[in-house]
Symmetry: D2
Subunit: 152 residues, 4 copies
């Protein structure tokens, strides 16, 4: 079984990175990415602090920590300005893409990846292949083992 | 030293309660109240889950659990619709007052109570007297002891 | 319904208190006591840290924090010398009574109180009446509320 | 820099494994080992639950989880019978070696590895080389990353 290349993200813009950043730009890095919604309790209480810890304490030259804001409900309350306030308050400094909205429905990237909800954790290897896609918070040990395997 | 009567809250409306609800309506109850902002991490991660637990698991006829949304920053991201989405996602069913805004400044009740920030915990006894006002999350034991003393 | 007086403890000796200390000596105080075994995981991981916190951080003139070592299994591994090592390592400075053994069976006080196992939490009011006896670890909020009510 | 081969453990016996088991028997496996004392709070509260979780939930054919009981204080309270009671109560089913005592001093293996205290975490690769020796509890993420790298 061969893992497929992770599809390019379709986004409207980025926080903490240039607006034209592409997932492909991270080829050569191991990417650990969090698809989240700022008003999802499991994201704010568990996954977001974990990703902040990954970004701040794991100093590995091959590691890239990314966020993907996949708003599929309460669109009016989770726009770009609200996300910026959230990122400011939670002191998030890793790049966060905003998944391209499709009206009040599921945004484009979330749909293409067939994500079931938030949080969803993605692991992408240095060749850009999607090695893990997990719906729900992953405890540190269960995230650390496959991530460590990719970082080598 | 005599504790003073807790000043009436000046609010624009309530969630989970009629819009004309007054703090005074809870006279006779022991009130434990949380002044919070929905985008404050210490609120979403610590204080809000604690107050949800207080409301859901402490079945005491004299206890009233209340929230007070005291927005003093990022006003555009924490309006009524956003708070409703937040309360829905965090499954908050206790009454939550929205502190009356004063432009982009500190809202009225927060200013009158001279609160330092969020979260702030208030304890009000059955006679309406303010018995405790604490800035920052209160661990369960430190909240349980004075609350138990008031409930008797 | 009237709570009964908590029966005097039948002990072989005490740590951190004179050997002839009696429960009755604490009349006038609110007693929160932990019946435990040093090799019981729920004791070492949850209840013992909670009681150390009660003893160290709740400075209330009416509060007495006590331990009762109720060994009902693995008697060879939980004698006085072992308990002293345990209390030293866990930095326990509150008085700990050693329940009087009855061969390899349940010790005397544990039997008289009909305790189901360890940990067991006891709350005794200033008149010496047993106000709560709870088998299993009590979360901080559930312990703080009734303890606060007794401390007033 | 080349990591050295992990020195053979000098032990008096094993729990959950034949008495003549040798560290060398695990050549070909990735070994994660915990040097601990049963009465050390950081061991009982943090490291032991983590190793139990490693043993029970990480089903990897190349992984071996081991314990090493390195008693350097309170020798009278942490003999073999006491350790058996501890392992029974904490439901530890991975192999645990008992480091060979040297009177009331530091036991042989602990001395040879120059361990600073307990808990100490060891990581040994499939060729028997010591890849990590860490004094103190390692949070799950910090253990998972290097362990994942060895498991590949």
């Amino acid at each position: 079984m061969e893992p497929r290349i992770a599809g390019e993200w379709e986004v409207s813009t980025w926080l903490n990175a240039p607006a034209d950043t592409r997932l492909e730009d991270y080829r050569g890095k191991v990417v650990v990415a969090l698809a989240f919604q700022m008003l999802c309790p499991g994201c704010a209480q568990l996954a977001i602090p974990q990703f902040r810890k990954l970004h701040e304490s794991i100093r590995h030259p091959k590691l890239a920590v990314l966020g993907l804001h996949t708003v599929f409900e309460h669109h009016g309350a989770m726009g770009k300005e609200a996300l910026e306030a959230f990122a400011h308050e939670y002191r998030l400094q890793f790049p966060i893409a905003i998944d391209r909205p499709q009206g009040d429905s599921v945004p484009v990237t979330m749909e293409r990846y067939a994500m079931q909800g938030t949080p969803t954790v993605l692991l992408i290897d240095g060749e850009g292949r999607l090695r893990m896609q997990h719906f729900g918070h992953l405890p540190d040990l269960e995230l650390g083992l496959p991530l460590g395997a990719l970082l080598g």
